[in-house]
Symmetry: C2
């Protein structure tokens, strides 16, 4: 990924500004109460999509960067040199990845509850997979209405 | 969940109508090419949120209902009687769940690629967790632009 894209794309838009966390780990932010932020991250023009050990290590590092607690990890590879499917399960939810090396594409999701900010996982994921373009969306899960 | 809610909520809106799948397992539907459908499912007023074995079995049954292939499963419980966090990793992507029994809330996501339709997992999840209300959103992952 070019540095230009890094400059345009701010993976940690507001860090922990204005966030408070209740005893049930639900978040209070911007006048809304919800369980956590769920990022759906599509990486195109991505690299390093076929090494299951490197990928699981990247997901663990991405979790740790957001101060999440890792409970379990698993990574499956679809034949030598093929794509992978896997997950890191966290005390605060999960990070998953599915890669299509034949399309230079990876579909990642980062769901984190409580005081963890899933945006803080993105720099390590971007550094690892070097995407040329990123489609990112965020949903607040468990919004109390 | 009441039968009334079941009647209002159609978990399998269009099944496999108009879907074709390429050799890279990307889907062609409605003139769009994409990797798969990713459902974010919030269950409120839900039951049966604390038995890890029953929950992992429900997730496996939900995967099988969509003709997905299970690669791996994992379920962690946060203390006896507490919530769970876990995942079933599929050849076609994954189903994850995180439960907050103290709020009668479960956050589930169902991501399935290729010919599997994630909506076909929903009836079993709804039957298992009996939600009073459902917040459902779907994103098409890996949309080719």
């Amino acid at each position: 990924m070019s540095e230009g894209v890094f400059e345009e794309f701010d993976p940690v838009p507001d860090a922990d500004a204005g966030v408070s966390v209740g005893p049930d780990y639900f978040i209070e932010k911007d006048g809304e109460r919800y369980a956590g932020g769920h990022l759906l991250v599509d990486f195109w023009g991505a690299s390093n999509l076929t090494d299951p050990e490197a990928i699981v290590n990247a997901l663990k590092a991405a979790a740790t960067a957001a101060n999440a607690t890792i409970l379990h990890s698993y990574m499956h590879q679809f034949g030598e040199g093929g794509g992978v499917s896997g997950v890191v399960v966290l005390a605060e939810s999960h990070i998953s990845i599915h890669t299509w090396p034949e399309r230079d594409f990876a579909a990642i999701d980062v769901f984190m509850c409580g005081k963890c900010n899933p945006h803080q996982s993105l720099p390590i994921l971007m550094e690892t997979f070097q995407p040329q373009t990123v489609d990112l969306s965020e949903q607040r899960r468990g919004r109390v209405k």
